[in-house]
Subunit: 334 residues, 2 copies
């Protein structure tokens, strides 16, 4: 290790080096009025000393902090990773740092993380809310500027979400068009929006809307697998499955393979969220693509713009047909 750690350079050092007062330095650096000559002297001194204003001091004084918080259920999930990437891309263009927390879809952990963020005086927060969004009240009261992403938690918080209703409808219509009548939805807990859209879609097409046709998993891989396997095993009459996310889709493919259910011959599969491996999979998966990155980007824009915000932004999804869906064969499986 080379040099000793040097004391932080403060505005006072710059003021001294430039032969002016600290107020003047502050003014020059934040674009206030100053004579051309002083401005030059200050700028030169700041550059020479490699001065960087302390965000701590600034934020303390300004009683707000730059920076935005981001809470996602699982950064390992491609969807949320892309969402986070969108947020980071937008934040970077504003020069704002982003503090990320992983909630694991656990409201308790979420509350804990919100607490940490408030302690940091974060006043802007983008979150994929877990639970029903009830515990957000204290955070909102604390003056937090919140935008929800991917899920519409409460109605008094602006949100950026994919068009679940249209996405589900497209998927159901596509499958119905292939002759499927028993279509199941394999989802995560808390996707009430989509489930509603699903049953509505079934109804509108005159398909049976059996209650057991929607299966819920928790957000872990194991739980997803169990749910998928259970569905495939106990319901030989369903000939098509809509998986409500990429880990659900992965679980469905794995479970089908394990149970010797062939896709698409025995069951057709549509997965929400287009991930790179959907094309690599065998068979390549037909998906409802979601603009994950855009969702993040738009959410960041919303939270960074101070003006009043629209209550909800809905971004379109898109059906990408590959090879995991086929016409229904006349005979039921097995």
């Amino acid at each position: 290790m080379s040099g000793a750690v040097q004391r932080r350079i403060t505005i006072k050092d710059v003021a001294e080096a430039a032969g002016v007062g600290v107020a003047t330095v502050s003014r020059v650096l934040s674009g206030g009025s100053a004579s051309a000559e002083t401005r030059e002297r200050v700028l030169a001194a700041a550059a020479r000393l490699d001065y960087r204003p302390s965000a701590l001091g600034r934020n303390l004084r300004r009683r707000r902090t730059g920076g935005i918080g981001l809470l996602v259920p699982d950064i390992t999930d491609s969807f949320y990773a892309r969402l986070a990437d969108g947020v980071l891309a937008c934040a970077r263009s504003y020069g704002e740092p982003v503090t990320v927390g992983v909630t694991g879809d656990d409201p308790e952990r979420e509350a804990e993380l919100i607490g940490t963020l408030i302690e940091q005086s974060m006043d802007r927060l983008i979150a994929v809310p877990s639970g029903d969004g009830e515990m957000w009240a204290p955070a909102l009261r604390a003056g937090l500027n919140v935008v929800f992403a991917d899920r519409r938690g409460r109605h008094d918080v602006p949100s950026v979400v994919p068009d679940d209703r249209a996405g589900v409808l497209t998927a159901v219509e596509y499958l119905a068009g292939l002759g499927h009548r028993k279509i199941a939805y394999l989802g995560r807990h808390g996707q009430s929006q989509r489930v509603a859209a699903f049953t509505a879609a079934l109804a509108s097409l005159g398909l049976p809307a059996d209650r057991d046709l929607v299966v819920h998993a928790r957000s872990s891989r194991d739980s997803a697998y169990a749910a998928a396997a259970g569905l495939l095993q106990h319901r030989p009459d369903v000939t098509a499955v809509i998986a409500g996310g990429n880990v659900l889709g992965e679980a469905a493919v794995l479970a089908a393979r394990e149970l010797d259910v062939r896709i698409p011959r025995d069951v057709s599969l549509i997965m929400f969220d287009d991930v790179p491996w959907a094309e690599l999979c065998s068979p390549p998966l037909t998906v409802i693509a979601q603009p994950a990155q855009d969702i993040g980007y738009r959410a960041a824009e919303l939270v960074l713009r101070q003006g009043r915000r629209p209550p909800a932004v809905t971004l379109p999804t898109q059906l990408v047909v590959r090879a995991s869906c086929g016409p229904r064969v006349a005979t039921s499986r097995r």
Copy 2:
């Protein structure tokens, strides 16, 4: 929207409510000495007012900031997402917030992000360094506590890395055992460590170490595809490819499919990094699994522990055999 935004509750409010001085409140809350009765009064007041100490004030006074910075090339890449997850898991157990930046493997962007982090008075930083790590000198001089992850940038910075040498050797030996003699390495720029290990491994097994057998891509998907396609097209004599990361592996599979090169019949493929879809791929990919999450976790431990740190931690990799490698067929491809 319901209530008005309320003023932040400060230590002064708590002191007043408890009928004591601010110093006493601070002492009680940070575990200093106080009489049982005062302690109780203070704690009660703090709880009643839902007081949260401001990290800004604390950090400003303490002249250090909690919190750790994390710089990764691409949060969308499963490997780095898992690495980040490890960091976040460890940081959470210490209650430390993590600020994430995406460098895109661009030294300039990296330097910019380091600047932002320094302004935030972050004093702890975990980074997957891009470039050769030369521009880290100013950051280190600024007293930053840095740990490198995944890549060993400079030798005066502790690092947590996978055992590339052993991983590469295992892969090469495995392929050689299947009869392959022309083995190519498809890597990213900056993987000098692995390339060295690769040529060493070839040499130790008496295999030809043609210079053209290592192909470099930039870290974008497009660049990876181009490199993979180029390799497959122009070198019909290579019968086995080692892909140095999951996006490289994905590109190789895609390119092979496009060029009608069959895996494993025409070429065998080993991919660095075990991702969930490796098993879903057709054929399922044989991989060198890397403990991405562990790397992140250990790096976070290192950067959070104040004690002196070991210069480098190396974590083992593991060969996971699936179905993308086969014996060399006598005839060359094409």
